[in-house]
Assembly symmetry: none
Homo-oligomer: 421 residues x 2
């Protein structure tokens, strides 16, 4: 029993996109304990796709296709699979109905092109796409061979995989051994520093512990293999506990947690509210906060004070200060935080001002210099960061994360002081 | 004559890493005009690697391997290729010398493991690695079949490809032609609708035209093959011109353009400025605008009015209106746009209010209902969108894009009116 991933799309052969679908599916197959020995990439070409199907169906029992399910003439994954197994295509009324309904909801007309998406090989079932118009299929063209097809759009493919394909596969006996994992998340510590602190854990066999880092965040993935999910998590739990103890406040959460969701929980737990003032991030901090569903409970809003006039008029930053020390300074960060806090009448005010680059840096104030301001009722502080000239997107991203992290540390430490006293 | 990429490494099958090497090589092959129809990923396993070599050598003339050249026992790409073509391995003194010298420079001793890296099939030449210890090889195991091997470390592979493999291939008659491409970008039209409008172009052979869609954006890629880059672009130009004519205002740009960068250019060209008011996007629109380097020339700032109190106090939205028709309404969008425009004293005011979900939807106002407000000196309008319940991230993303798109259309049409009058 083994699976094989076949990615269909000329854009992959031209190198226009990275094959992130194959990585996602590979991780998923590993977690389900389904062996997987080959991946193929092939263009939107019927003859070559048939060659790929021939090779794959000869050596694997579960073929997972992504791409080529759209409405245009170069989308021909479904019809080529049907042709390879000499099976006629039939129109599925449930797909027509689904597409028509989705188009109606968006006030659009279904075109003849979309009708093509309702054709599946005889005997195949629709693999429902809750998001886009292109459904996939589940088909057993012959005994001991299962075919799943997914659209190439990663967000659609992932939802269909997790909500429909995985439960289907489990009922068919695939994925019985389970690999479960837990990802611990860290902010404010480098990968090498964290690796030194927890180096003894990297020799463990089950669970294993592996470090990852991207965009300023460090992660430790703890993975265990066992007969059930519960048994796997039971192996993970004591290791996670010890890792958290060693890392202390640098560990901000796990798995689906984000700095924003953790800050949201802390604000909710302390019945406090937040407003923000952003300069170089231009809305990125607000976007992170409001990416959390239900964020209206703790986040009131903010001011994007990109221009200095907005800093003065809407936040009350002093023009004299701007002239004397410039917009990228500790004192302006503090005035921004205090200003937005008092105007929006919130418990906390959080601000960011910095130089994201590529232009605007000087020797005294280089690209990557960022100040975070944090205002409470009785206190206002600021924090200086030097993130370096690592690209505008990078500086903006880590600035917003660091702002959230400073607020997180402040609330966590006030909570422990409370408990300690 | 066609090439094939074979990526060797169990870490790819486990999904631990993205196959960025395959994307890089695919782009390079496209630029060189070397046809390339298949990619394979296979683990560090001799039997399965032989299967992959069998399939690839049967259909392609240039096999490009990455990975499995290191010193450890699980690195077995070279020996497996040699075994497949029944050729003995021989030790290359020049490789031994090179590795010994590199180790000496770093003050390290060469180990017996490294000796393995000096073994190549009889008749193969070393493909020099100027960076790391693992060299690759160039080999013709039989007429009309060339094999190149590269280490899996992307930085080493890329240098070896560009400095050694490409010149080698060119002297052997590969890569005489060039494929260049141009991606046209569209907003406000569905993939199927656009495909119908330009369907006759999909049959072109050189250049080819192919549609793509993701996150609400539709793209047409025009690719041409010719003897030089200039000749390829000369083939693309008339097709691009005709596609732009057919698509009209729905085509907003090409290649690296974004809706925000195009809006920025239009604002700069018309010497006008922008301020924004965001509710459901919570800063996402501001983030898009400020992702454009130099955006401070046209973007003054904005107000994230997440809470209704902020809409009233900072934007002047009437509390009576909020009570009567609710925050997600055309009139509130208009009041937000006018409010931010007058407070920040800009040419344009742009606003977004909507229901991003997953909660908060009703029958009358479902998840995905979004209003965009656009205010100028003498006029304020609004636009209603129903994006559907396709996930919070999706709704927020397409809302911000649609807001930029409405402003773009407004400026473009005022410019053409100006020209027309």
């Amino acid at each position: 029993m083994s699976a094989e991933i076949i990615s269909v799309g000329t854009e992959l052969l031209l190198g226009n996109i990275l094959n992130s679908n194959a990585q996602f599916l590979a991780q998923q197959l590993a977690e389900l304990g389904i062996p997987h020995y080959f991946q193929t990439v092939v263009g939107d070409n019927p003859d070559r796709l048939k060659r790929a199907i021939a090779g794959a169906s000869d050596r694997s029992n579960l073929l997972i296709f992504t791409g080529g399910l759209g409405p245009t003439p170069d989308d021909l994954t479904t019809e080529t699979i049907a042709a390879f197994f000499a099976t006629p295509l039939v129109e599925k009324p449930e797909i027509i109905e689904d597409i028509a309904q989705k188009f109606a909801e968006r006030g659009r007309q279904m075109t003849d092109n979309n009708r093509k998406q309702a054709l599946l090989p005889e005997g195949a079932e629709m693999l429902y796409n809750p998001v886009g118009s292109a459904p996939g299929m589940i088909w057993q063209p012959r005994p001991n061979l299962t075919i799943l097809t997914f659209p190439g759009v990663p967000s659609e493919m992932r939802i269909m995989w997790q909500h429909i394909a995985v439960p289907y596969l489990k009922t068919r006996g695939w994925g019985q051994a389970t690999i479960a994992s837990r990802t611990l998340r860290f902010w404010g510590i480098s990968e090498s520093m964290l690796a030194e602190t927890v180096s003894s854990f990297f020799d463990l066999q089950n669970p294993t512990v592996a470090p990852y880092a991207n965009f300023g965040e460090v992660k430790l993935r703890v993975s265990a293999k066992a007969a059930s999910r519960e048994a796997a998590y039971a192996l993970i739990a004591p290791v996670e506990k010890e890792l958290r103890r060693l890392a202390g406040i640098d560990c901000y959460g796990a798995d689906e947690d984000s700095l924003a969701s953790v800050v949201g929980e802390l604000l909710t737990a302390t019945q406090s509210t937040l407003s923000i003032a952003e300069s170089c991030t231009g809305g990125g901090l607000g976007q992170m906060l409001t990416a959390v569903s239900g964020s209206s409970a703790f986040f009131m809003g903010g001011i994007i004070s990109y221009d200095n006039a907005v800093k003065e008029q809407l936040l009350g930053v002093e023009s004299q200060t701007l002239e004397q020390v410039g917009a990228v300074s500790a004192i302006v960060a503090e005035q921004m935080a205090s200003g937005v806090r008092s105007r929006l009448n919130t418990t906390w005010g959080l601000s960011i001002t910095g130089i994201a680059g590529p232009d605007g840096g000087t020797t005294a104030k280089p690209v990557g210099l960022v100040y975070i301001g944090l205002a409470a009722a009785d206190n206002v502080t600021s924090f200086e960061f030097r993130f370096g000239d690592r690209g505008r997107d990078w500086v903006r991203h880590v600035s917003a994360c660091s702002a959230l992290d400073q607020l997180r540390r402040q609330i966590v430490s006030s909570l422990s002081n409370l408990r300690g006293s």
